[in-house]
Structure formats: C-alpha cells, structure tokens
Symmetry: C2
Subunit: 323 residues, 2 copies
C-alpha cells in the first residue's frame, strides 16, 4: 500500500537508547523510586531496546546528595540494585556525566561496573573538560559518546572546531546533536547532520531532541533516513520541559523489526502515567514558547509551577521585549 | 545563526486555515457555545489567519438537529450571529460539506451568504457526490476545495483517477490530502504531494493532518517546503482524537511574517484550555496506536471514554490479532 515502511535493514546499525530515568530526572531532581527504575529497566530490556540510561554519575563534591536523588549519582551499588534478578537480554546500561559537574575518579574500571556506555554531556564552552572525561571513560574500558548540548545556540564554526577536536583527541564512538531547547526545525537538523558528517570521519552521529514544538519524533525520523547511529527516546516522552521523543513512537515506526512495543506500553500504563500528577511534561504553551523563541526552558519550567501557569500572554511578554 | 528561518516569501501564496470549530466539533457533536465560536472567530481574524472554518453545512434531512449542535449545520442566520460586530480584517469564512451527508440545495447564492469558501470532504468512494457538491458551490459563486479523507487507506492508482476527475470536471481551486488516521509519515506525505502535483495541473494542494503520532506539524512543515497552497491548523490542536496541527506552532514558525501569535495564545488561554476538562484530545496512547496501526480513531475515541482508558495492553490487543 501507500506507506513508507520501515524495514529491518534500517536497524542493522542503528541503536535506540532509552533515557527516561536520566532525562526524566531533570524534572524531579532524580528522585525516582527503586521500584520505578527497576520496572523501567525490565520493560526496556524486554522490548529489545539497545541501551538504557539510568541516570547521571555527577560528582557529590559538586552537587549535594542532600538535594538530589540517587539517579543523579548512580553509585555502582545502586545500579546493582536495579539490575539484580532481571535478565538484561541484549540491553546495555548507560550513565551520563555532565562535563561541568563530574570528575574522572568517579568512574571505576569497566571490569568492576555494570555500566557499558558513558555519555559525556557538554556545552561547547566546556569541551576541554568533556574531552578529559571521555578519555578517562574509554581508557577505563567503556563505550563512550560526547553529547553537545544546547546546540541551537552555537555558531557553526565553533561546532566544527569542537567536532575536529573530538575526532582527533578522543576514542569516543559517537557524537550527539542535542536540541536542549526544542528549537530545531527539520532543516536545521539536516544541516547539522551534514556538518557532523563532514567533520567526523571516524565517529558515528547520535540524536537527542526535546519536544517543545512537537518535532522530536519527526526530527528523529529524519535522522534515521540520514543514517545516524544512535537515537534517543523516553517512555511517553518523559523528560525536561516538554519532554523527549516518545520511544513508543520510534518502536511503532520500527514495528517490523526486533523491537517489541508491548513491554513499553505496559510500563507506561503501570509506572509512567501516574507521574503526570506531579510532573508537567508534554505539550504546554510555555514550553512551546521557549522552543519557538530559542530559549532555555528553565523559565517555562518555573512558570509551570505557578498558579497562573496558564496566563500565556504574561509569560510571553516576560520572556520577550513585548509589553 | 544556525536556524532555518522562515521568510515572508513563503507565505505570499500559502494560506492558513483555522478549523478549530469544525474539526473540534467532531469531539463534541458540534456543541460549542456561540460565545466560544465568536471568541475563536475574533482571535483568528486578529492574528491574520487567512480562513476560519466555522463548522459543517450538512443536511438536516440526513443528520438530526436533535443530535448535533448548530455548528454541524451552520445556518446562515447562525453564522451572522458569529460575525456580527467583529471586524473580519482579512480573514475569510469557510464551511465544510461532507459528500455523503450534504445536499446542494442547502447552499445559498454567494451574494446572500457570509461564507467565502466551501470545502467538500469526501472518501474516494463518494467522489461522484463530491463533484456534484463542488460544482454546485462554484456555480453559486464560492471558492471551493475537495478534501480527500482517510487517504492513507487508498490505493495510489485510485487516488490518481480521482484527481484526474476533479481536474477535468470541477472548478475547485485546491485539492486536499487529509490524513484522517494520523498514519502518514513524512515520506508518505512527500510521495502524495508528488502524485497530486503530477495529476493536478490547474489546482493547488492543501494539507490537513491529524496528530496521532505527533507528526501533524512536521508533515505540514514538509508541505510548506514543497510549496503547497493551503495548510490547516487548530487552536492548541483541538480536533478529532489526537487532534490536528496546532496553529500556534505554524504561526510560531512563521513569526517574521504577517501573522500574530498573541491573539491565538489569548483565546487558547481563555476559551480552549477549559475544554480539556471535557474533551480528551492530544497525545494519548490509544490514539497513537490507531495511528501506527493505520486504523480509524473511532475505537480509540470510544475507549478514551471508559474508566479503564489507561489499560493500553487490553486496547492494543482488542484492535490487533494479538491475544
């Protein structure tokens, strides 16, 4: 019939990474219960998703454990509580380090860890720190990526310089385009993928989108077509502000492949939906406005906690020059 | 900077049509208050949107006025109550006729009507009726389009035959691609636009998407790039099942053009948000599932009214062979 049908070849190389707990942790200071994290881990394994990211390993000397939940630090002991008794099947475990909030010494040698992949999230200005953390991770035996955040704010020339630095100074397998503000249109994504391909001869490309303008899934589909290697999603889109690309949409699109949507539906039903009572992710006008205005969503997140959260006009005026 | 910036040239030809009341009426049997419809009309006029569709003009001999609200029939007298005292600026008024539920005699001569545009919605199987209604509308002095519904279910060859019939037998200005099920991926849209362009030498192309898979806005952006003429949106995406392309996203994308987002934000805040208490549009897993499975959303809409609406697994199994 009419449809563009995804076929299995598309996934021979491509990997899906679920970062529900990690990115969702930006909405609740990483305070998920162990039961929730285990349920997510088990569902993601059963669905055949390639990687699951269980949180950050940021430094307790920089962030206070009194202010953040356990998934902001992901102690090895904590991670072992997650995986205990659950069959991983083919799913690998990822954690993230923020370049400006993490230190190399928190990473154990790979042989002592359940972690497979360490992703280094960085702003361009912190690229030197990111390179140090990435070299540390690969030297200790892990797979590694560098994820360039807030890329919509950066000059193309500066992006190219950083890509060349990553290419020549690290052994990471992949570099991500991270649309932290949900500001990128498909043509922007296309242009960035071209720039990444031009500057990265020995690294793959990854994509992580926010959904401020309901473009996270569509931008990811574009990336699949342009043969990127890593794509990120989260259960029901749970993530900062408007959230991320819903992983069930990715698996729905790839429904003739190895992935199974049913475990994802089940865990959304049992564990994720109820979080909506506390966390306001999804399509909301304040998040949309920071997306179209190419701004960090923090003001929208703060606005969404107010009783007058639906006074869109006042919010719009507060973040623009209009008055 | 980095972004793909929409520029004014893109809108020289393109027209935006707001169909909040018409498509939203499929969620509440067209029972909006006159005050709500007037507020929507005024906001759409002030924002510079090109057309506003206030409902259907279907036949009272086929549908009972006891079962449907006034916006399913759009009596001329009712429409005059909407526009009275409101400055239309440059916004034209549209109504829709369903090919299988409307009759020619309900259309007054243009000189006696506030309506500018009549859109004929049809399944391919009712194309003969659609052509009769379209010829009636243009003969009586209106602008007219034919909107091919549920196009994801049709064979390409049959679509081409119908396009050729419309081209040769009518004076409509535009033929729409209508993704009633929210099943089309961007590559499907691209292919359909190619087929429309190949078969329509003297008609423009229009796009109307449903948002089951969060692709309505992205698919519309693709259409803008491929130079379609008419694009549809609704306030906050209000519309059947998952709803439509949010018109505020379109205007956000086109923010350097003649359109103004503020009146849209204001009416969403004052009139549309409150409807969420009664109407479950937006991204919900049952609607998503009918989208990825390429099915009519009616089963999902019915499911969403049950107390067990969040039992996704049972719903999934009920609409597939899996048990």
């Amino acid at each position: 019939m009419l449809y563009y049908n995804s076929d299995c070849n598309e996934t021979n190389e491509m990997k899906i990474l679920d970062c529900t707990i990690r990115d969702g942790g930006l909405t609740n200071d990483s305070y998920f219960s162990l039961d929730t994290v285990r349920a997510v881990y088990q569902a993601v394994c059963r669905s055949g998703i390639d990687y699951v990211e269980l949180g950050y390993r940021n430094s307790k000397e920089i962030l206070s454990p009194a202010e953040y939940g356990p998934w902001r630090f992901c102690d090895e002991e904590q991670l072992r509580k997650v995986v205990e008794g659950i069959e991983p099947l083919n799913t690998k475990i990822s954690i993230m380090q923020d370049a400006h909030m993490a230190v190399p010494k928190d990473i154990l040698p790979k042989a002592q860890s359940v972690v497979d992949l360490i992703r280094i999230a960085t702003y361009l200005r912190d690229m030197d720190k990111a390179v140090v953390l990435a070299r540390n991770a690969t030297n200790r035996g892990y797979e590694c990526t560098i994820n360039i955040m807030a890329i919509s704010q950066e000059e193309l020339k500066e992006i190219e310089i950083s890509l060349q630095k990553i290419e020549s100074e690290t052994d990471v397998q992949c570099v991500y385009i991270v649309d932290s503000f949900g500001a990128l249109y498909p043509d922007d994504v296309h242009r960035l993928i071209e720039i990444y391909k031009k500057n990265l001869k020995n690294k793959k490309i990854g994509l992580h989108f926010h959904n401020s303008q309901q473009l996270a899934f569509a931008n990811t589909l574009l990336g699949i077509k342009e043969e990127v290697h890593f794509i990120d999603g989260t259960l029901y889109g749970l993530g900062r502000a408007a959230g991320n690309c819903p992983i069930e949409l990715l698996v729905g699109y790839l429904q003739n492949t190895k992935y199974d949507i049913l475990p994802l539906l089940e865990v959304i039903q049992k564990e994720i939906l109820i979080l909506k009572e506390e966390i306001k992710w999804g399509y909301h006008i304040p998040y949309m406005l920071t997306g179209i205005l190419k701004k960090h969503p923090r003001k929208a997140m703060s606005w969404m906690k107010r009783s007058q959260k639906d006074d869109f006009i006042t919010f719009y005026k507060s973040i623009t020059d209009k008055c």
